[in-house]
């Protein structure tokens, strides 16, 4: 659990997600609107009946990318706080895999920011979903994250000393 300046929250969890707790995390008396996105396991995928899913993540990088999404939406939209939680491991039909809550003084920013957050999460956060069917399992088709423009010859600094 990371709690940077705005009291935002980013988590990867292995048990059920508690939406009410996340909404409490972002709610404040100066706000007037909270928009939430709850993504949960559908019972079918491209016409095949899903049995269950398994999610895995590159955890340190996923949390860093979730914090990056939060930084972007604070910069782009007049929002107050955001909470982003993704569950890992085995998930049954109907269980929440991702939950995002955004608070703001006004609804328009909350809607825009929540949508930007889930859209960007799906394109850039290193999490993978394996779909289990009666006749086998497949890694879900996904999206290849874009590589940001870099200054030639530079390398990201190692986060830990070698």
């Amino acid at each position: 659990m990371t709690t940077p300046p705005h009291s935002d929250l980013f988590q990867l969890v292995r048990g059920p997600i508690d939406p009410a707790a996340l909404v409490r995390q972002v709610r404040a008396a100066e706000d007037g609107a909270i928009v939430t996105f709850d993504g949960f396991v559908r019972n079918e995928s491209r016409g095949r009946r899903t049995l269950y899913l398994e999610y895995e993540a590159y955890e340190s990088m996923a949390l860093a990318k979730m914090a990056e999404i939060a930084a972007h939406i604070h910069a782009k939209f007049s929002i107050h706080r955001v909470a982003i939680v993704h569950r890992l491991g085995r998930l049954e039909i109907g269980e929440t895999s991702v939950f995002i809550a955004v608070s703001a003084a006004h609804r328009s920013a909350a809607f825009d920011a929540c949508r930007y957050a889930i859209d960007t999460l799906k394109r850039t956060v290193p999490i993978w979903k394996k779909e289990y069917f009666a006749d086998g399992a497949v890694w879900a088709d996904g999206e290849l994250p874009p590589v940001p423009a870099t200054i030639p010859g530079t390398t990201p600094a190692a986060k830990t000393a070698s």
Partner: protein
């Protein structure tokens, strides 16, 4: 003074279908100094020829940032070959 052919050691992480193909989640790899991520990937395709066909659908990361395959590595870097992501 650095010697001419100093070698570096990097940490390599595998996820999803790539982890299944390689058969492990994590590795430690030795490379000549100044090697790129592309060069590191080639070391794995030499051992796991089926890996080559995934190259167009992978993006490289170094120290938790998506980077170009031409990125040069340094000792202690954490590298991953990231398949298409499917969170959410």
């Amino acid at each position: 003074m650095a010697t001419v052919s100093q070698s570096i050691r990097v940490k390599v992480l595998f996820f999803g279908r790539i982890k299944e193909l390689i058969g492990r989640a994590e590795d430690s790899a030795d490379l000549p100094a100044g090697a790129s991520i592309e060069r590191l990937f080639a070391q794995y395709t030499a051992l796991h020829s089926e890996l080559a066909k995934y190259r167009p659908s992978l993006v490289a990361s170094c120290n938790q940032e998506f980077v170009e395959w031409t990125t040069l590595l340094h000792s202690g870097d954490e590298v991953a070959f990231i398949p298409p992501v499917s969170g959410g």
